[in-house]
């Protein structure tokens, strides 16, 4: 009973630390919202307002119809009608244009006679991602046109793929970012904050006094972890609420399962933070390890932004030890695909094992004395 009250006293003290330090409070509550809004509104993969130049050397019904179709899609904005190749080149160099479409002369006669025509599409290859997307988009607009007008000529020959983007038909990037952001924020709040708050006690000398008190090491550790556990959970809920209300990201699977998996991931991150704090004694080192050793891999290697499958083999192997990778798979599966536990038990098991190993290592490493 008395032990319980001293534990509660410890947790209350932790909350004082969190709410009295403006920076901590800002990171804890401001960051999730700001990051979500940033990723949701400002940082997008979708291509909009592509500056296009159209050189129509044919000036007939077909070229006119295709031009109209391209411009009416809303993705492209016509900036000029270049008259020569040198004009196209200088426009690319100055960045005034990102794509040029050139119709060869007499395209309608060609399509009548041969059933085919040549359209040249030039893009600015210095930004390969954008180039790839806009050429694909342009090609699909043209394909659309051809299939619509197919009644007048022969049926298009050969195999025509009809793609369907399941789970995210609009290919909205916010669907991609929300799960990644949850992993990132939970890592940051749980691992970084816990490791800093424990090392701060070591640095300020208060750990000395705590050790020479009636508190047991397990009480100190758990007391440090509980506040961040609660706050992280609040963060998960608020991210999900914002994602669904502001960005319309659905949760197709069980919300309960998503919460349970998130709690597990929070535990993994907290135990990582604990582990970091047991191997360092200064806040700065703890911060460096957390930022360099956790945040960057969480962003780069977890599949948050770059797909794991397209990484070189060594990085793919490394990505397996990054908790966020497994959490990302789980969250995407539950939120977007509506998957259940039966599909995700392996990923869950990986996270659970990681957590147990980390907690074990931290308890073993936690020193009841000064080094």
């Amino acid at each position: 009973m008395k032990e319980w009250s001293s534990f509660v006293g410890f947790v209350v003290k932790e909350f004082y630390h969190i709410f009295r330090d403006r920076r901590t409070a800002a990171i804890l509550f401001g960051m999730p919202v700001i990051q979500l809004l940033l990723f949701g509104y400002a940082i997008r993969n979708e291509i909009q307002e592509v500056k296009i130049g159209i050189a129509d050397l044919s000036r007939d019904a077909v070229s006119q119809a295709i031009t109209d179709k391209i411009l009416s899609s809303g993705t492209f904005v016509l900036v000029k009608n270049p008259q020569s190749h040198s004009e196209i080149q200088s426009a690319f160099r100055s960045g005034a244009m990102s794509e040029a479409v050139i119709f060869e002369p007499a395209s309608d006669r060609e399509i009548q006679r041969e059933g085919s025509m040549d359209i040249q599409v030039i893009t600015d290859g210095s930004d390969p991602n954008v180039s790839r997307i806009i050429t694909g988009y342009t090609a699909s607009v043209i394909r659309d046109y051809l299939s619509e007008s197919a009644t007048t000529v022969d049926e298009p020959k050969g195999v025509v793929p009809v793609p369907l983007m399941m789970f995210n038909p609009g290919l909205k990037s916010v669907y991609l970012f929300v799960p990644g952001l949850m992993a990132l924020i939970l890592m940051l709040v749980s691992a970084l904050m816990t490791s800093i708050s424990i090392t701060r006690e070591k640095e300020s000398g208060t750990m000395e006094v705590l050790l020479v008190s009636s508190l047991k090491p397990i009480q100190i550790i758990v007391g440090k972890v509980v506040p961040y556990f609660l706050l992280s959970f609040i963060n998960v809920v608020s991210i999900l609420v914002i994602a669904s209300l502001v960005f319309g990201v659905p949760c197709r699977g069980s919300v309960l399962l998503l919460m349970a998996e998130s709690l597990l991931f929070i535990m993994t991150a907290l135990s990582l933070g604990m582990f970091i704090s047991t191997i360092t004694s200064s806040q700065q080192v703890a911060m460096m390890i957390s930022l360099g050793g956790l945040l960057l891999p969480t962003i780069l290697l977890s599949g948050f932004i770059f797909p794991v499958a397209s990484m070189p083999l060594p990085l793919q192997v490394i990505s397996n030890v990054i908790p966020a990778k497994w959490y990302l798979i789980i969250v995407r599966a539950i939120m977007l695909k509506g998957a259940g536990f039966a599909v995700l038990w392996q990923e869950t098991l990986v996270l659970a094992v990681m957590t147990v190993v980390l907690i074990g290592a931290s308890l073993r490493n936690f020193s009841e004395r000064l080094e």
Binding site: F10, Y16, T206, E208, V209, V212, S214, R369
Partner: protein, 310 residues
């Protein structure tokens, strides 16, 4: 069990530095015991071993009858420890700090209030203030309250008065005197010689070895050479002049005067006066004085060659 602390042959090394070498010490129950030593003498290491935060490489330490190595838990709940560095939460108020330390020691402020009442009444007007914003003296009083809140049998105070103004220092020592009357054993370290005379017994620590352990009066009894307090118009010249005197044993500045000891037991002030008046020094006064603790410490530091004076 009559001794509160029993240290036998404790040695502690950090890589290449020997912080403590073969230290032995006994502190009786209810004693106010001082460890006097300069920075780096090993005071903090000794305290950390006693409060079980560090293990000795050799030797054994017993605190309140418990072995510091094996029974550290029993020791930890029975001692009050105040580290050398201010170790309270600066972002918690005076009141919150005290409450926090009461709860982690499974007690309440009310339960032991009478023990700290004397000290805490001085802090009460500032109880809502953050601990980080207190003055040096106030911080130490708060730290003492926090170390006392669970009514420990032994108080370990590592340099509690370092960096504290003279008035607060005197008040602090008066508080220690009253705590001692309550039956609490106090082990306190300090770099200030003048505080040694306020202890029941003192130990001089120098480079990890104990030079002497005795009562303040007993310590000064170790000083045998004749001691003179010498003054002149130019202190610096006086020092160099005295140092070149063939019979000089030790010469050092002591406040505004110079303390001089002679190799000859029969040395007289007239002789020294005669020697000094051959120089251009003026307004010379020489006085034979009784040695103080600081004089004894200086003498012990000089003569010590590893052997113990007990």
């Amino acid at each position: 069990m009559t001794s509160a602390v029993e240290v036998k042959g404790v040695t502690k090394k950090f890589k290449t530095v020997t912080a403590l070498s073969n230290v032995s010490l006994t502190v009786g129950k209810g004693e106010l015991f001082g460890i006097i030593g300069a920075d780096g003498a090993g005071k903090t290491t000794l305290f950390r071993i006693l409060c079980t935060l560090m293990l000795a490489d050799e030797g054994r330490a017993e605190v309140l009858g418990f072995d510091a190595r094996k029974e550290y838990r029993s020791i930890r709940s029975r001692i009050g420890y105040m580290p050398g560095r201010f170790s309270l939460y600066t972002d918690l108020s005076v009141e919150e700090n005290l409450k926090f330390f009461a709860t982690v020691f499974n007690t309440t402020v009310e339960e032991n209030y009478e023990l700290i009442a004397d000290i805490y009444t001085q802090l009460e007007p500032f109880k809502k203030r953050m601990a980080g914003q207190l003055s040096g003296g106030m911080k130490q009083k708060l730290a003492l309250c926090c170390a006392l809140i669970h009514r420990p049998d032994l108080l370990l105070l590592d340099e509690p008065t370092t960096g504290v103004d003279a008035v607060s220092r005197r008040e602090f020592w008066q508080m220690l005197g009253r705590l001692k009357e309550q039956g609490i054993t106090i082990l306190v370290s300090t770099p200030y010689m003048d505080e040694a005379s306020l202890c029941d017994r003192v130990a001089f620590l120098q480079d990890g070895t104990i030079l002497a352990v005795d009562t303040p009066v007993g310590i000064t009894g170790l000083f045998t050479a004749p001691l003179f307090s010498v003054r002149a118009n130019e202190k610096h010249k006086l020092l160099t002049r005295l140092r070149s005197y063939p019979h000089a044993k030790s010469v050092y500045a002591f406040g505004s005067s110079v303390h001089y000891t002679d190799h000859r037991p029969s040395a007289s002030s007239e002789e020294i006066m005669r020697y000094l008046s051959e120089s251009e020094l003026q307004e010379i006064t020489i006085e034979r004085i009784e040695p103080g603790i600081e004089d004894t410490f200086m003498a012990l530091m000089k003569t010590d060659d590893g052997s113990h004076h007990e």
